[in-house]
Amino acid sequence: MTVLEAADVTFRYPDGTQALTEVSVRVERGEIVAVLGPSGAGKSTLFKCFAGLERPSAGAVAVEGVELAALHGRERRLAQHRIGLVFQEFHLVGRASVLSNVLVGRLATANAFTSLFHWMSRADRTLAVELLTRVGLGEQVRKRADSLSGGQRQRVALARALSQRPELLLADEPVANLDPVLAAGVIDDIVRMVREEGLTAVLNLHDVSLARRVAQRVVGMREGRIVFDLPVGEVTDPVLADLYANEELAANAADREEVAA
């Protein structure tokens, strides 16, 4: 069954930059897909279109058959609630506690009035603490989010996304801000939790080895287009060299310009 379907998605920013050109992807239930590509390839824009944060200029994105861009108000909020997001820079409330950050993921279905006073149901609180324990933060529940390390913060953000009880987890460069050792640990945690919860996941990554390690399928992007969409076994070194080829050329050109200046 298809969880996420993008059909001929084109995206142009208001300044005229064309970030995506006729991108079509289909992600089936339970799949873990990595989107790879050099910076500026359009991965983040695609993430925003998938998440409903941006509306495609042309084409359509449907999550579980529902087109988010067409919804408004309560329906839209509830549809968004089915998609968990993890961002590169965590996007936590630094001064709030770890638990409070995770409970944010439960707000959409909580009582609209009592939740304003931070009064959440026992079930919501139990779920939040349980998720935090499962990502190894059982001891940090009452700490302030900004007192944690980068890797721990991203785990809090992961717990927040999972507390939504989503069908689909989208992550935009979730470990780009972390050092390589931590990065592998966080990615492993994300994938472990996705498997345990039986979710579908699309991860934007720029690290080839991480992508090969966790994904079942790899989508390669360059200059706003999909270059390849292959099972991880078929993502060979020549395929990757091709994906990053022009970037090296561009980098060399930039070096030469610097020398000439």
Partner: protein, 284 residues
């Protein structure tokens, strides 16, 4: 990499051989700028405004010099302070603090919804923001003492009129401050919460306020300081507090009592200043 280094070395040796055209350009840029006509006109206008305002303010140098002995006389008659006045002054100072604190708390609570409406990143609709800002600016333009006069006329003499005046003044003043604080807030966590499907009111309670409360509390303490000063004066128009007594003692030429009142106000405001600056340091 080596090429870059070579290039730098070359540039260093090439410096003395600056081309003639370049030399002139450097001299031109290094020269002092002659003030433009606009600057001269602006300076003249500033002098003219200063001259006009000093005449219309009745500023009179000789009168000030002539008056110095009277000032000295006035001050000398304030000593010694009258200690019989002390219990009354303390009681009224407590009332003044009551007016200031109640007004600050109520005003701050009222200012938050107003500030949210006036913040572009919370309510992007221009008509909401501009009507909220207009409301704030109109009410802010009226000084607290005028509000006090109007409330005395409507609810009668006493502390209640003063409390209302401080509440109103604080709510519009703080609304402006808070709106600016909200507009400069980091919106990433807000956007992430929006993407979970949380309502705007929930995002205010769970993201915006937790992030901003230390800054808001620090400003509130600063405003409380100002409100104690304002509340000490409200009595002049009959709106309660220590100002009423000060006015009365001045009229009775009881300068010893006046001194006591001034000392009580001084001690209270200075200690409040000390407390609030210590507390504010812990916030930020």
């Amino acid at each position: 990499m080596t090429a870059t280094l070579e290039k730098k070395g070359e540039a260093a040796t090439a410096e003395p051989r600056t081309q003639p055209g370049r030399r002139e350009e450097i001299d031109r840029l290094a020269r002092l700028r002659r003030p433009g006509w606009g600057t001269v006109a602006g300076a003249l206008a500033a002098v003219a405004v200063l001259g006009w305002s000093s005449t219309s303010s009745g500023f009179d140098g000789p009168a000030l010099v002539d008056g110095l002995p009277h000032v000295a006389d006035f001050v000398s008659r304030m000593f010694p302070p009258s200690w019989e006045e002390l219990p009354v002054a303390i009681e009224l100072m407590i009332e003044t603090l009551g007016i200031a604190i109640t007004g600050t708390v109520l005003g701050t609570l009222l200012s938050i919804p107003l500030a949210l409406l006036a913040a572009r990143n919370i309510f992007p609709q221009p008509w909401i923001r501009s009507s909220a800002r207009t409301f704030i600016n109109v009410f802010r333009a009226i000084p607290e003492l005028m509000w006090a006069l109007m409330f005395v006329a409507s609810v009668g003499l006493g502390a209640f009129a003063g409390t209302l005046a401080i509440t109103l003044g604080t709510s519009v003043g703080m609304a402006r401050l808070f709106a600016d604080i909200f507009e400069t807030a980091d919106m990433r966590a807000w956007d992430a919460a929006a993407a979970t499907g949380a309502r705007k009111s929930q995002r205010v309670a769970w993201v915006l306020l937790p992030q901003q409360i230390p800054t808001m509390a620090s400003y509130t303490l600063l405003v409380l300081d100002g409100n104690v000063r304002a509340a000490s004066l409200l009595g002049l128009v009959g709106a309660g507090g220590i100002g009423m007594e000060l006015n009365q003692q001045l009229r009775l030429f009881e300068y010893g009592s006046v001194m006591t009142i001034v000392l009580v106000v001084l001690v209270v405001i200075m200690s409040l200043d000390l407390i609030s600056s210590t507390v504010r340091k812990r916030f930020v």
